[in-house]
Amino acid sequence: MLVLYLSMIDNDNDHNLFEKIYYSYRKQMFTLALSVLGNEDDAEDLVHDVFCNIAEKYIPTLQNIKNEQDMKNYLLKATKNSALNKKRDTKHSISLHESENLLHAEEDINDNKFLDMICNSLSYQEIISAIRNLDKKYEEVLYLHFVVEMSIPEVADYLDRNKNTVKKQLARGKSLLLQKLSLIGGLEL
């Protein structure tokens, strides 16, 4: 007799991941949301909204994150950004995003060249110090792009920013970091 198996249920990876992150980070996400919104009901709603977003769009991205710390950072950044967006006046938020587009066009340094320049000449502590001194908006774009390995459109979607804005922030972030490390010329900003 020939026995064949119809494997309709392929695997539960997506669901397992979703459940894992929910039980691993929900309280930390809530705590962070509460610190921004100051209200338990709003903070719970926000955590729920973040998980809805994840279930809807970001499971494939999360599947690619192998480092536990990056997973935590990703979820907490998503929570913080959502909380700030909720709190912030929408009009102000738009004007902030639009203001990024007023940045002067920055010469974009190739990603590999950028990493090589840093690798070749500096100590770990010097780099830590330079990254700490970057404006947060550049630091988080650099982190998401280089460490979490998200593309520019993915970062833009995740941070709720315009793609061109993120592209400019990435180019400017690279340039500013190299300037802070005195690896290229330019004004210390």
Binding site: L2, L4, H15, Y25, R26, V47, A55, E139
Partner: protein, 222 residues
Amino acid sequence: MTRLEVLNAFREVASEEFSHIPNEEDIEYEFSERFNNKMVKLLKKAERKGNYSSANLPKRILAVAAAIVIILAGLMSVSAVRETVIGFIYEKINGNYEIMFDGEALDKLGYRYSFSVIPEGFVETERLTQEAYNYVRYDNDQNNYCVALSQSAIGSRMSISMDDEHGHIENYNVNGTEINIYIDNYGDLYIAYWIWGSDYMQLVYSGQTTIDEILELIKTIS
């Protein structure tokens, strides 16, 4: 310094932003019942999405279903005399429905069945025609649903098993034919199978629908 160390530097600084957040196990907070209820629903939805609703999964399901029938057709021994097909025998073994059916093998299909009416919104995306096997698939790009109909000449003493952990089988009668339908626990995967003459028929519907609609769809096959 290595690239890995550079990336670690970015990671370290990024993590500092949340260093004031206590560890999960140290946070003593009981979520409200309203929140827990919403999350239970979301987790169930995610489970369904994880199991069945990702964009690629229906294709995989249909590919597997199609592959099985192709294998069956390919392994059939050939008989010159058509005998009555015994039908389906069910057994539950190790969490699977074992579905067996008997009959003398034929080397080719006689009449080839097809839908007389294509479900609204679906367009044909795949067709495979062999002597002992027929397969056609339709997709609906609006909702990512798909439906596939296959017909194969039945081989001798073959069986298929289906996982019973995530679904169950129901039996219906359509114009005197016993129709068996495997339904997943979330109601978005239906596999209907039945025997017409000496042919094994299978209809796979991936998407939200109802048994009545599946049965109506079967009635349009001629």
